[in-house]
C-alpha cells in the first residue's frame, strides 16, 4: 500500500513548536495512510485497527486487506457524500494495551469517522473505554461471547445464540447424529468460558445429565494434546453417542486435530464442532484426517450465491492471489462497512451520534443470502450454517437454520443476564436494560 507522511496542518505546526511533546505527536501522526482517493473534498477517514504483527497477525492481516479492498471499491463508486474515503492503517501488534493507544490515536489524532477492527475479546475490551470516552464508532467483526452491548460498538460477528446454540441443536438433532454426551473443550479465555457456561445451561435444559457433560480448558498455544484426547476417547466410549464442542483458539487447533487423527478418532465416531476454525485456519492444516469434522459459521466460502461468487472473485483480483480464502469475519466487515456507508448516506453526515442512531434498522444483504438487519442492541440478524470439513480444505454446508437468527447481546441462559436486553433506541437507550425491574443498570449508577 502507498505510504505517505501526513501533511502537517497549522495546528500540527503549533504542536511541533512544543519541543518534545511535538516529537511524540508528530510520531503519533505518522500513521500510515493508504490513499485510494479519486473523489474531491476533505477525505473521510476510516480507521483500521488490526494486528499486522505478533501472534494475531495470522488472523487479522486478512481483515485489514479486505477493508482496504472495500474502501477502494467505495471510492471507485464515487466515495461517500461525494468525498473520498481514506483508510488509516495502524498496527496494534497483538499487544492489548497498544490496541487502546492506537484506538485513541485513530479517534483523537486522526479523527476517524469509523473504526473497523479487533479480533480477540481482550482487544475489544481494551479499546471499549476509549471508544466510549471519545464517542467513536467501532465495527467488531468476530464471533464472540456476547454479554456486552456498548453504544459505540457494532457487533457484526455472531453472538453465542447465532453460532453456539444452533450448532448444539444440530448435534442433538437426528441429522447431526443425535449426540447424548458432550465434551466442551476450549482454550482458557473469556470466549470459551462464557460460551461453555451458556451451553452447559442450555444442554441441561435439553435434558442432558451433568455426568454427560465434560468441560475442559487448556492454555493458549497448547501443543501436546495426548492426555486430553485420550480423556475424550474414554469419555466418548460411555456407550452413548458423544460429540465434542471445541472453542479451541486458532493456533492450538492444528496439533489438536492431528492428535485426534492419530488416536484414531474420526468424525463418524466423535464429531468435533468447532467455533473458531474457518477457511483461513484450514489453509494451515492437512485436512485429510479432518474430513467430516464440523464448524458452525454464518458464512462459508463454499456457499454458492451470486453475491458470494462476485465477492470472492473481487477478493482474488484485489489480492492477486487466486487461492486466497475468504471467511466469516471478512463477510462481517463487508456487511458492517456497507451498513455504515448506508447510515452515513442516510444521516447525510459522519457525525458520530447521528450515524450511531441512523445505524439501527439498516438492512444489508448477506453474501450467503438473506438480509442482515442492525438490531437495537447493535447485533445483526444472521443465518447459521453447519459445515463439514472436506479434503479440499473447504466446508460443505450440511445444515442451515431455516430463518435468520437475531443476535442477542445478553444470553438468556446465564442467570445474571437472563432479564437483560440492549436497546439503543429512545426512550430506553440503554445497553443493559433490565426488563423486569425496568431499569438501566449502567445509568442507574453513573
Amino acid at each position: 500500500m502507498p505510504v505517505t507522511m501526513p501533511n502537517l496542518s497549522r495546528r500540527n505546526f503549533g504542536r511541533l513548536a512544543l519541543a518534545s511533546s511535538a516529537a511524540a505527536l508528530s510520531g503519533a501522526l505518522g500513521a500510515g495512510y493508504a490513499r485510494a482517493a479519486t473523489p474531491k473534498g476533505e477525505p473521510i477517514k476510516v480507521g483500521i485497527l488490526h494486528s499486522l504483527s505478533g501472534t494475531m497477525a495470522i488472523s487479522e492481516t486478512t481483515l485489514k486487506d479486505v477493508m482496504l479492498m472495500l474502501i477502494a471499491e467505495q471510492n471507485s463508486k464515487g466515495g461517500l457524500l461525494g468525498r473520498p474515503l481514506e483508510a488509516v492503517v495502524v498496527d496494534p501488534a497483538s499487544n492489548w494495551p497498544l490496541f487502546a493507544e492506537k484506538a485513541r490515536q485513530l479517534l483523537s489524532v486522526d479523527k476517524a469517522s469509523a473504526v473497523f477492527g479487533c479480533w480477540t475479546s481482550v482487544s475489544r475490551k481494551s479499546v471499549l473505554p476509549v471508544f466510549e470516552e471519545l464517542n467513536g464508532i467501532l465495527f467488531y467483526p468476530v464471533q464472540y461471547e456476547g454479554q456486552e452491548c456498548s453504544r459505540n460498538i457494532f457487533y457484526t460477528g455472531a453472538a453465542p445464540n447465532q453460532q453456539a446454540i444452533p450448532a448444539v441443536d444440530y448435534l442433538l438433532s437426528e441429522a447431526g447424529g443425535g449426540a447424548k454426551r458432550f465434551a466442551l473443550v476450549g482454550t482458557d479465555y473469556i470466549y470459551p468460558r462464557t460460551t461453555n457456561q451458556i451451553l452447559v445451561n442450555y444442554l441441561k435444559s435439553k435434558g442432558i445429565a451433568d455426568e454427560d457433560i465434560m468441560v475442559n480448558y487448556t492454555p493458549f498455544g497448547q501443543s501436546d494434546w495426548q492426555t486430553i484426547v485420550s480423556q475424550l476417547k474414554a469419555f466418548g466410549s460411555g456407550g452413548k453417542k458423544t460429540a465434542v464442542v471445541s472453542t479451541i483458539n486458532g493456533d492450538a487447533n492444528v496439533p489438536f486435530y492431528k492428535e485426534l487423527g492419530n488416536q484414531g478418532i474420526s468424525a463418524t465416531d466423535i464429531p468435533v464442532m468447532a467455533f473458531s476454525v474457518g477457511e483461513e485456519e484450514l489453509a494451515g492444516m492437512d485436512t485429510k484426517p479432518l474430513v467430516g469434522q464440523l464448524a458452525a459459521w454464518n458464512y462459508f466460502e463454499s456457499i454458492e450465491t451470486p453475491a458470494n461468487t462476485a465477492f470472492i472473485k473481487e477478493w482474488h483480483a484485489y489480492t492477486k492471489q487466486p487461492k486466497r480464502t475468504t471467511n466469516d469475519p471478512m463477510e462481517a466487515h463487508y456487511i458492517g462497512f456497507n451498513m455504515w456507508v448506508q447510515a452515513v448516506t442516510k444521516a447525510g453526515t459522519t457525525d458520530h451520534d447521528k450515524v450511531i442512531d441512523a445505524m439501527i434498522g439498516i438492512r444489508q444483504p448477506n453474501l450467503t443470502g438473506g438480509i442482515a438487519e442492525m438490531l437495537p442492541d447493535h447485533h445483526l440478524t444472521k443465518p447459521v450454517f453447519i459445515g463439514e470439513i472436506q479434503d479440499d480444505g473447504q466446508f460443505s454446508v450440511v445444515w442451515k437454520t431455516p430463518a435468520l437468527v437475531p443476535g442477542q447481546a445478553w444470553s438468556p441462559w446465564v442467570a445474571q443476564t437472563k432479564d437483560l436486553i440492549g436497546d439503543w433506541r429512545k426512550p430506553i437507550a440503554c445497553g443493559n436494560y433490565n426488563t423486569v425491574t425496568k431499569t438501566c443498570l449502567s445509568r442507574k449508577h453513573a
Partner: protein
C-alpha cells in the same frame, strides 16, 4: 426475540439436510442423486442389501468420492479419466455440470456399515476380519441377521471369534427382550474377555439398565469392574508413554542448545527460530517433491531431515561468523544479540511465507496408531521418540569419536592451549555452532509433524529447552537427556490431576527452586578443574 430463537431450534430438530426436492425417477440409486440425506441413506442400505455389482461399484465410488450427480438424477462414476454411468456401468461421456455427491457424517456411517457388510462376504479372511471388527464397533441391530449368517458360514477361527464378539456386542446393544437372557449372559461373558473401552461402555449400560435381568446385570457389573482394573493399569503405562514422547520432543529441542550453550557457552536465543526454519524447510521439501517426483512424496519427510540439518547448520555457521564470534566471553551480550536475531528471522519468515500457518503433510505411514495391549501408541510420537534417540546417539558419537568432537571439547576446556596445539579454534567454533543449529533444524522437522508451523513456532519452545539444559546440568548430554525425560514425565503425570496449565507452572517452579538448591543442575561437571 427469544421466541424466534426457539422457532429456529424446533425447525432445527425436524429439518435434516439441505434444501431442494427429490429427483424424478425412483430406483435404489435415485437417493444418491438427491440432496436429501435420508433418501441417500435409504438407497445406500438398499444397494448394500441387493444392489448387485453395480450397487457395490456405486457405493465404492461414493466412498472414494468418485460418484457425481448430473441433471435430473443421472449418476456418474468419474474416476480421473474414465467416466461411466453409475446405474448401468457402461462407459459414458460425463456432462459439464457434474456435482460430486455430498456426504455427511451420518451417510459416512451408513456407508461404512454397508462397506463392512459387503466385505463380510469377501474371500480374504483379513478383509472379513476387518469387517467383523467394524461391525463390532458399530453394534447396529440391522446387521444382526447378516452377522448370524456370516457366523454360520465362517471357517477361519480368528474371524469367527471376532464375529462372535461383534454379535455379542450387537446383542447387548439392544434392549433385553423375552427369553434372550441366556444369549445376553453369554454375550456379557464374551465382552468381558474382549475388554477395552468399547466393551466397557456396552457393559456399563447393561449393568445400569433397570429392565435387565438381575444375573445378567450382576455379571455385567463384575465384568465392568474387572475391565476397569485392567484399564487403570494400562492408563499408567499410557501416561508413561505420553511422558516419554513429550520428553523426547523436549530432548530434540534441547540437544542443539546443549551444544551451543552447554559446550560453547553461547546463549542462542534464536535457537527456537532455527527449529522454525527447520519446519519450513520440511514444508518446502514436501512441496518441491510433490511438484517434481510425486512418487517420492511419502518419504519426503525423510529427505527433509538431512536437508533441514544442512540448511540450518549453514545458517548457523553464517550467524557464528557474522555475529557470535564478536561476542565470545560475553554470554549476556550474546543473549541480547541473538534475541534480536530471532525477531528478525521471525519477521523474515513472516514476510516470505506470510503470517499464517502452513500445512506440513503427515505421510500415511506416520499417522494413525498401533495398539499394544491396552496401550495406544501413536505412530508419529513413536517416530519422534526413536528419532530423538538416534539424534542423541549420533551426537554422542560425534562428540566422542570424531576429531571435530575432540577439538570442540579441547577448545571449550582450554581455548588458548587448544590454539597452541594447532587447532583452528575459529573453525571449530563455527562448526560447533553450526552443529547446534543443525540439530535445531532436525527438531524442527520432528515438531512439524505434531505442532503447527508458523513464524511463532520457535517462541513456544525456547524457554522449555533452556530449562531442560540448565536443569540437566550444562555441558552434560546425559544430564540433558535425563532432564528432558524428567520434565516430560513430570508434566504428563501431573496433567491428568491438576490440568495442563497448572502442571506447566508446577514444573517451572520446581525447576526454579531446584536450580537454586543445585545451581549446576542434576549432573554438574564437578571438581577443581573448572573453577581455576
Amino acid at each position: 426475540m427469544r421466541k424466534l430463537g426457539l422457532a429456529c431450534l424446533l425447525a432445527a430438530l425436524c429439518l435434516g439436510g439441505g434444501l431442494g426436492e427429490a429427483s424424478a425417477q425412483a430406483d435404489d440409486f435415485s437417493g444418491l442423486a438427491g440432496p436429501q440425506f435420508e433418501e441417500m441413506s435409504a438407497s445406500i442400505t438398499a444397494l448394500a442389501a441387493h444392489g448387485g455389482p453395480q450397487g457395490d461399484a456405486a457405493l465404492q465410488a461414493l466412498e472414494d468420492r468418485h460418484l457425481f450427480s448430473g441433471a435430473d438424477g443421472a449418476l456418474f462414476i468419474h474416476d480421473g479419466a474414465v467416466c461411466q454411468n453409475a446405474r448401468t456401468g457402461e462407459a459414458a461421456s460425463c456432462p459439464e455440470d457434474l456435482k460430486p455427491v455430498r456426504l455427511n457424517n451420518r451417510i459416512r456411517t451408513v456407508l461404512a456399515g454397508a462397506h463392512a457388510l459387503r466385505e463380510l462376504s469377501s474371500a480374504e479372511p483379513d478383509v472379513r476380519l476387518k469387517a467383523a471388527q467394524a461391525l463390532y464397533a458399530r453394534h447396529d441391530m440391522t446387521m444382526l441377521p447378516a452377522l448370524e449368517q456370516a457366523m454360520s458360514t465362517e471357517k477361519v477361527p480368528r474371524v469367527h471369534e471376532k464375529l462372535m464378539q461383534a454379535h455379542a456386542a450387537t446383542v447387548l446393544a439392544q434392549a433385553p427382550a423375552e427369553g434372550t437372557q441366556a444369549t445376553r449372559l453369554k454375550a456379557v461373558g464374551y465382552l468381558a474377555e474382549v475388554g477395552g473401552l468399547e466393551a466397557r461402555g456396552l457393559l456399563a449400560n447393561v449393568a445400569a439398565s433397570a429392565v435387565e435381568a438381575p444375573e445378567v446385570r450382576h455379571a455385567a457389573q463384575r465384568a465392568v469392574s474387572r475391565i476397569d482394573w485392567h484399564l487403570r493399569v494400562w492408563s499408567v503405562l499410557q501416561n508413561a508413554f505420553y511422558g516419554l514422547s513429550y520428553g523426547s520432543v523436549l530432548l530434540l529441542a534441547a540437544t542443539g542448545l546443549a551444544i551451543t550453550f552447554g559446550v560453547m557457552g553461547v546463549i542462542n536465543m534464536a535457537h527456537g527460530e532455527m527449529m522454525m526454519i527447520g519446519a519450513y524447510v520440511t514444508w518446502l521439501v514436501q512441496q518441491g517433491i510433490r511438484m517434481t517426483v510425486p512418487a517420492l512424496e511419502p518419504i519426503a519427510i525423510l529427505i527433509a531431515i538431512p536437508v533441514a540439518f544442512v540448511v540450518c547448520g549453514g545458517i548457523g555457521v553464517v550467524i557464528e561468523r557474522s555475529l557470535i564470534r564478536f561476542l565470545y566471553g560475553r554470554p549476556l551480550e550474546t543473549l541480547l544479540a541473538t534475541w534480536g536475531l530471532s525477531l528478525v528471522l521471525q519477521q523474515v519468515i513472516r514476510s516470505v511465507f506470510g503470517p499464517t500457518n502452513i500445512a506440513v503433510q503427515t505421510p500415511a505411514w506416520l499417522s494413525g496408531s498401533l495398539m499394544v495391549g491396552g496401550l495406544d501408541i501413536t505412530l508419529n510420537r513413536l517416530a519422534i521418540l526413536v528419532f530423538a534417540g538416534l539424534v542423541l546417539a549420533g551426537l554422542m558419537f560425534v562428540l566422542r569419536r570424531t576429531t571435530l568432537g575432540l577439538q570442540m571439547r579441547a577448545v571449550t576446556q582450554n581455548r588458548r592451549m587448544a590454539a597452541l596445539m594447532g587447532i583452528r579454534t575459529p573453525k571449530v567454533d563455527a562448526l560447533a555452532f553450526g552443529l547446534g543449529a543443525g540439530l535445531a533444524g532436525l527438531a524442527g522437522v520432528a515438531v512439524s509433524q505434531i505442532d503447527n508451523v508458523s513464524p511463532n513456532l520457535g517462541q513456544s519452545y525456547i524457554i522449555d529447552s533452556f530449562m531442560v539444559v540448565v536443569f540437566g546440568g550444562v555441558g552434560n548430554l546425559w544430564g540433558t537427556l535425563a532432564a528432558a525425560m524428567a520434565l516430560g514425565m513430570g508434566g504428563k503425570v501431573l496433567e491428568p490431576t491438576i490440568g495442563a496449565v497448572s502442571a506447566k507452572i508446577a514444573i517451572l517452579v520446581l525447576v526454579i527452586v531446584y536450580i537454586q538448591r543445585h545451581p549446576r543442575g542434576m549432573f554438574p561437571v564437578r571438581g577443581r578443574g573448572i573453577e581455576s
